[in-house]
Subunit: 308 residues, 2 copies
Amino acid sequence: MADVQFKSGKSLLVVGSLAFDCIETPNGSVDDALGGSATYFSYAASFFLAPRLVSVVGADFPQQHRELLARRGVDLAGLQTKSGKTFRWKGRYHQDMNTRDTIEVHLNVLSDFDPKVPEPFRDSSYIFLANSTPAVQLNVLDQVRQPEAVWADTMDLWITTQSQELLQLLPRLDGLFLNDSEAHLLTGESNLVRAGRAVLSLGPKYVILKKGEHGALLFSKKGIWTLPAFPTEQVVDPTGAGDTFAGGILGYLSTVKDDSLAHIRRAMAYGTVIASFTVEDFSLKRLLALDREEIENRLEIYRAMLGF
Amino acid sequence: MADVQFKSGKSLLVVGSLAFDCIETPNGSVDDALGGSATYFSYAASFFLAPRLVSVVGADFPQQHRELLARRGVDLAGLQTKSGKTFRWKGRYHQDMNTRDTIEVHLNVLSDFDPKVPEPFRDSSYIFLANSTPAVQLNVLDQVRQPEAVWADTMDLWITTQSQELLQLLPRLDGLFLNDSEAHLLTGESNLVRAGRAVLSLGPKYVILKKGEHGALLFSKKGIWTLPAFPTEQVVDPTGAGDTFAGGILGYLSTVKDDSLAHIRRAMAYGTVIASFTVEDFSLKRLLALDREEIENRLEIYRAMLGF
């Protein structure tokens, strides 16, 4: 815990999934590995502060996984345990590692997830609504009190099936993460810059458009910023890259005074670097061996790459 | 000509095609527009110095196109005019503007192109071998005397059909441009970082791996650098983006003392910015309205985007 810093007195709440992942890649596979959006997000954020987690698991969720998160300072007071099984996902990555097929999804206890934000979590400064139905995300927002900023992730399924709820959510967000194909789906724009601007017009103050191995674009009313991914030859398992990208961003933002553009850009650099570690091994393996110093070292290499 | 600078006393020779392009995009089309790798390259380079051009056209090539290049200071002493028709290319871009189909190719006078480098061009400091057969590229190299640096472009067709000649060429290059799919084809590596390193091991001192709207990666024995494309919502016609990227790079390099990594990275930023203008209109239209001041202004916006 020596490398976890508590500087700002701010707090960060994440609501999302804990999961068992079965992952096949051209280089190997893992079964029943610890995964889930809230797992990856909170682990990444834990390099900056001790995040608060709201999620649900089944009776099959082992104590060692709780301990893994607790050792990082993650506050598990909002983790419900229900009878039944934990959410399971099975995916297979294609040869290029940029695309994947979902082979199996078993929502299990997540299917009727009704998140309860514990009273001590309701004053959290920053809220991250990891990918779940817009209805669940709105439900969480109705439980928290005047957060400084609310960010959310979404996915193609909700854009297609719950667009009304999603359009209600967007004006209540400070920031939205979505990937290039989702931005296209939501706006009908094939040009990414136009698509990002169109998402911005739906309400969020910031939009971060994720392009996987090609980096990300940031949109605000003040302009557009672009950052490439950190180039790495060691791509073992891309699972969790997007959630650790978000976790690094919100984690860093929670340590600084405000969410000014300058801070968001630095936050994106931290998120990029942490995501580049995530993909270097299966599940959380690479993150388990990571410390803040290694993050700072890669951040400096990344900064030097972008200077000209 | 007021914005063309001659600082270093160095010279830059390009050997490549002049063409008539017929281009269809989701937003419109043009017929018989001035195109070709050497056209785009030399126009982009002309913002930095007066490049020398070796190419071939047919009797149908109009005087006005020669004048357009000559007004930019392009030395046309190496432009052969043959009986017959100029090279023609017809292409159609897909909705996302990142991919295209070649509909027609008429090599015409280019089919038996035997480049003759005029005596006064043989001492050129920098040589750019635009995309043509590796045999033609080797032929040019045998005509020049101790250039400071030789860069080349290639394409999937030569990787597939003339790999022996290409493998002879690579060790004679200081720099090679190729796109992501070509790097994969040449090396069998699907990870771009591994692919770039593998190309480097085939001989060039620098490899620049182009990813279209996602930017480019630079490989050298000293490391890897990444730059995103300049994000633009005005993508009318991507034709020539790669050649003007190269033209900006070699043009800038020809104005500085050496091809150190720091200079190459700044050169890539110039190339990125000029390419971002190229795609904003059909053929050379946007470039015709461009001046060095506008390039410098966008370069500063781009630099600010990448700081964190």
